[in-house]
Amino acid sequence: MRENEKNPQPTGIPQPPLGEESNRKIPSWFWLLSFIILSVVVYILVFETGGWRSSVFDATSLFWGYMPKEKPKEKVLQKPQAVAADPMAIGQEQYQAMCAACHQPSGMGMAGQYPPLANSEYVIGSKARLAAILLNGLSGELKINGQNYNGVMPGWKTALNDEKLAAIMTFIRNSWGNHGDKVEASEVKQFREKYGKKEGAWKTTELSTLGE
């Protein structure tokens, strides 16, 4: 390739077309290469595809990368220690992760879009109603502290377990000047059994039927 570029002169007298015989030569190394590649391909397809099951995501065979077993175990052991026992702390962490995007870290919500939690009757009031909203979500027009809101809140029953839901409820009922009592995981469990089967979010018109 280099030679041809550096040498603009014709490399010989133009030859008449040689016919196709010279094209047909297949070098012998091509067959060897085909054999190697085909065997690799068959090996991958047969042995390294997790039996063609859609539930197999990991393999520790040499092909996919060997993994020493010790390291992940350390991580698993560390994890439970990190979990704080204080429900307010868990609640705060979960609130920051799940709720603060809309209701804001200050609990004040966003005017006209997301209602505040601070000093809201729905938060301080009935536990059952609060749990029902948290589990299934809420949609429709809502009036809180004199302001109107019309949005959709999703349900969290598939995202959060009883402990976390209880911690969040405890946290929002006792922050930003709210004073409510603690919510136990066992209570949430009961509420989940009671309300959890409903599909979709509650309508605001249904709110009065919720709770005790």
Partner: protein, 198 residues
């Protein structure tokens, strides 16, 4: 004539087969609706808006959002996640931003690593402030300079970031920036989950 038909049919069959394997089958088998109590939180409201902002500004051109298993890369060792990401982690997203190249760090669990929204605002406004010498471009167009009425807004950026800022003004994140940060804070895929057994 028959040869032509066979040839063209063959071409289309190949197209169809590849399409079936990579588009139709994944959409059927990799869409297990989340069950149980610990599944990804729904995307909605600000988070959903923030996801669109993330896409619109081409963030995924430099940042990935996937954690590879420990035997396929150093992602977990780097602390980018405590486990590999699974289809269920992206269940609520219409188009997950898996990413193509890592010019910036992986963001699958950024909401787990950084929980302070003002850190994100400073990073977006002036990345050099947080990572000196970084090639991340500043996103100043996501911020507004507004007159401070009375006391300083808690969301406003520290005034030292802009030397030319006139007195009585403050730098406030625009609604897009608020949504984007809400989305980034929501990125936490560290909840325990198991690949669903058939």
């Amino acid at each position: 004539m028959i040869a032509r038909i066979v040839w063209v049919l063959g071409i289309f069959l190949c197209f169809l087969f590849g399409w079936f394997v990579y588009v139709i089958i994944p959409s059927q088998v990799l869409d297990p609706s989340p069950e149980g109590e610990e599944t990804p939180p729904p995307n909605f409201g600000l988070v959903e808006v923030g996801q669109q902002v993330y896409g619109a500004n081409g963030c995924s051109g430099c940042h990935t959002q996937l954690v590879r298993p420990a035997n396929m890369g150093s992602d977990i060792a780097r602390g980018w996640g405590n486990r590999r990401t699974l289809p269920v982690d992206y269940y609520h997203e219409t188009n997950p931003f898996l990413g193509i190249v890592r010019i910036g760090p992986d963001l699958s669990n950024i909401g787990k690593r950084k929980k302070d929204s003002s850190w994100f605002y400073i990073l977006l406004y002036e990345p050099n402030q947080i990572f000196p010498g970084t090639i991340m471009p500043p996103y100043k167009y996501l911020f507004r300079k507004v007159r401070a009425e009375g006391k300083r807004n808690p969301q406003a950026l520290p005034p030292e970031l802009d030397r030319t800022l006139p007195n009585g003004m403050q730098i406030m994140p625009s609604p897009e920036a608020v949504a984007l940060v809400a989305y980034l804070l929501s990125l936490d895929r560290s909840y325990p989950t198991q690949p669903k057994k058939q």
